[in-house]
């Protein structure tokens, strides 16, 4: 009998230095060992080990049924994941790039996210859709978008975006154990970043933001790769005596309103940073939330720093210019603190 789905509290075991990709693999592996209902399905995940090597080696350990390589049929495989989840399995379906999610979004939104409600609570859809987004590799406009905002606007879906190897492991385990469909969005430039990762079972509950750096002068709310940029920026700002608090949302849905609001009420200043284009981005949600709930606590207008409104260009120098860099965060933070 498979164990309960209840997310265990983070355990403080020994840690290993792992790449983000290795941390994800460890979570997949441990969850597959723990629960026979868990399996992975996607393109190039078998012999090739996945476009970013997350599933490397798992074919040998778990075989072709549980590391199920598929043809290029995005809506077919996500839909099959929905059907498998509805009937008792816990599929982890990989969409190679979030730019391709549009091909499968009907099954994610109209089926996975809504089935439980439409059926009056009869169903559970424990489906994880693992994908990755973001620019920085010269893959141009169809392989570099940041589309998390689409998925946050869907009732019934959860959205997770880890920034560090430890969070990647703990959040993926939680996503797999969760009984709801989860969009698990990685970043293509994080796979080769390293960090300490607790060994063994490690589960981080969904919906809890992480204060990656404490500070008193300004709250920077961000997620995914921009967390690393924000932490670098905070270092530079500290040299001029500006102490920025950096909040990594980790889960966009459920959203940890309390952590955001408590921080802003202390620092009295907000900067939201994301790689996605500004218009319609999730930064609007955060800035609006803070403006509504903490208006009188703010000493400055809430600000957003986001991607330039353009498809992602190919040429390296142009590509770098369209998403927020460390220096941009520093500049805007200075403006806010004044």
């Amino acid at each position: 009998m498979p164990p309960s789905e209840a997310a265990a509290a983070p355990t403080a075991a020994a840690t290993n230095e792992l790449f983000y990709s290795e941390a994800l693999r460890e979570a997949l592996r441990l969850e597959m060992l723990r629960d026979p209902r868990v399996f992975v399905m996607g393109e190039d995940i078998a012999e090739h080990g996945g476009a970013f090597q997350v599933t490397a080696g798992l074919l040998a350990e778990f075989g072709p049924d549980r590391i199920r390589q598929t043809p290029i049929s995005e809506i077919g495989i996500v839909g099959a994941g929905v059907g498998a989840a509805l009937t008792g399995l816990r599929p982890v379906v990989e969409l190679m790039y979030i730019d391709f999610s549009g091909l499968a979004i009907d099954q994610i939104v109209n089926q996975a996210a809504q089935n439980r409600f439409m059926f009056g609570g009869q169903a559970r859809v424990p489906l994880v859709v693992r994908t990755q987004g973001g620019s920085g590799r010269g893959n141009a406009a169809q392989h570099s978008k940041s589309l998390e905002a689409w998925f946050t606007h869907v009732a019934g879906l959860k959205v997770v975006m880890p920034a560090t190897p430890a969070d990647a492991k703990g959040l993926l385990a939680a996503a797999i154990r969760d009984d709801d469909p989860v969009m698990f969005i990685e970043h293509k430039l994080l796979y080769r970043t390293k960090g300490p990762v607790p060994a063994g079972e490690y589960v981080i509950p969904l919906g809890k933001a992480d204060v990656k750096r404490a500070g008193r002068d300004l709250t920077i709310v961000t997620w995914s790769r921009e967390v690393l940029f924000a932490l670098e920026a905070a270092e530079l700002l500290a040299r001029d005596g500006i102490e920025a608090e950096v909040i990594d949302l980790r889960s966009l849905v459920p959203l940890d309103r309390e952590t955001i609001l408590a921080s802003v009420r202390r620092t009295r200043r907000l900067l939201v940073v994301h790689e996605a284009i500004l218009r319609g981005g999730y930064g609007g949600e955060i800035a609006a939330l803070v403006a509504e709930e903490a208006f009188d606590d703010l000493d400055a207008p809430p600000r957003r720093l986001a991607g330039v409104e353009t498809p992602i260009p190919y040429a390296a120098h142009l590509e770098r210019g369209v998403v927020p860099q460390v220096e941009d965060i520093v500049r805007v933070a200075r403006e806010i603190v004044g």
């Binding site: 789905e5 997310a7 399996f39 049924d65 549980r66 598929t70 043809p71 049929s73 809506i75 077919g76 495989i77 996500v78 839909g79 099959a80 994941g81 929905v82 059907g83 498998a84 989840a85 509805l86 009937t87 008792g88 399995l89 599929p91 009907d106 099954q107 109209n110 089926q111 089935n115 439980r116 409600f117 439409m118 059926f119 009056g120 609570g121 009869q122 169903a123 559970r124 009732a155 019934g156 959860k158 969760d178 009984d179 709801d180 969904l206």
Partner: protein
């Protein structure tokens, strides 16, 4: 595959129940007791009845916007179905889903679907579950001729073929996709010919004769259960009513409808078979009709006394809070 008397009468009863359900939901809609939209399955009863006769409660189906027939054939409770149409808390979906989303997971019905073609990959995934668990369960996906031109049809049939999944795809060609005649939606006469390109058997059957549907489905489901992989069955039928309640039907003539109804009615067809083969007398069949009609009224009465749908709570939207 010969059909014994009990099974033959059960097939008739199911078809007659579906027809009656559609008649009564139509009148209830006319009385403004049903909200939204309903799609009548009248004329296609032999397909759901003939296929589901081979399914166990732990086998799965995915259904469509025109799903009442599949739901009934998969042995759903009529009262809970009507209660759903009436927006009651006692309905299958507690009034959240309505006609287009009735599901009965206790009987393996993974739901009607408002997205044309949306159920095809889901049934394929259910079959994948059977394969992964090594069980002998089978999944059946019902969908229309229109759905056969959706990308989900293509991707799903290919996945099922390469993985030899225990799934049967039942395409109900009722000659129309809303206002579009199948003749204008396909450049081939036989939709089943598409099975060739996926490497699975494709069977074309006259959906008016429940015996033929029953035989074709029996083979396909047995093949799937035995690990022999998927089959595409295309059953010809005719939609007796408009696409939805209130459809002006400018796209077809009264004459066409009349002539097809006369020649293409699975229930008259079944009566002729049952009486001419001496399986049952008209009187016995009339008795079944009477019992069906009584059961229907009891179901409606029960549904109408149910409480209205209760307020929405968070756990209905997210299972893990």
């Amino acid at each position: 595959m010969t059909i014994d008397r009990a099974d033959a009468l059960e097939l008739y009863r199911v078809m007659r129940t579906i027809r009656r359900f559609e008649q009564r939901s139509t009148t209830l809609f006319g009385e403004n007791k049903i909200w939204g939209t309903i799609h009548s399955y009248a004329g296609e009863e032999a397909i759901a009845a003939g296929v589901c006769a081979h399914l166990r409660d732990d086998d799965w189906i995915t259904s469509t916007h025109r799903g009442h027939g599949h739901c009934i054939a998969k042995r759903a409770d009529l009262g809970k179905m009507f209660a759903e149409l009436l927006g009651r808390e006692t309905g299958y979906c507690r009034g959240r889903g309505g006609s287009m989303h009735i599901a009965d997971t206790s009987k393996g019905n993974l739901g009607a679907n408002g997205i044309v073609g949306g159920g095809i990959p889901i049934a394929t995934g259910a079959a994948l579950t059977a394969k992964q668990l090594g069980s002998d369960q089978v999944a059946v996906s019902f969908f229309g001729d229109g759905a056969a031109n959706q990308g989900t049809f293509h991707e799903s049939l290919n996945l099922a073929a390469i993985w030899k999944l225990p799934v049967v795809y039942v395409c109900e060609n009722n000659q129309y996709a809303e206002s579009l005649p199948a003749a204008r939606a396909f450049a081939v006469d036989d939709i089943a010919s598409r099975a060739i390109g996926y490497g699975m058997p494709g069977i074309h059957v006259d959906g008016r004769d429940v015996r033929l549907v029953h035989a074709a489905a029996g083979e396909a489901i047995a093949l799937a259960r035995a690990g022999g992989g998927p089959t595409l069955i295309v059953a010809e039928a005719y939609r007796h009513e408009g696409h939805y309640y209130g459809d002006p039907q400018q796209y077809r003539t009264k004459a066409e409808i009349e002539s097809w109804r006369a020649t293409f009615d699975p229930i008259t067809n079944a009566r002729a078979w049952l009486t001419s083969d001496g399986i049952a007398s008209d009187a016995e069949l009339d008795a079944i009709d009477g019992a069906v009609d009584d059961e229907m009224e009891r179901a409606i009465a029960w549904a109408e006394t149910g409480p209205i749908a209760s307020p929405i709570t968070p756990e209905e939207i997210y299972a893990t809070q």
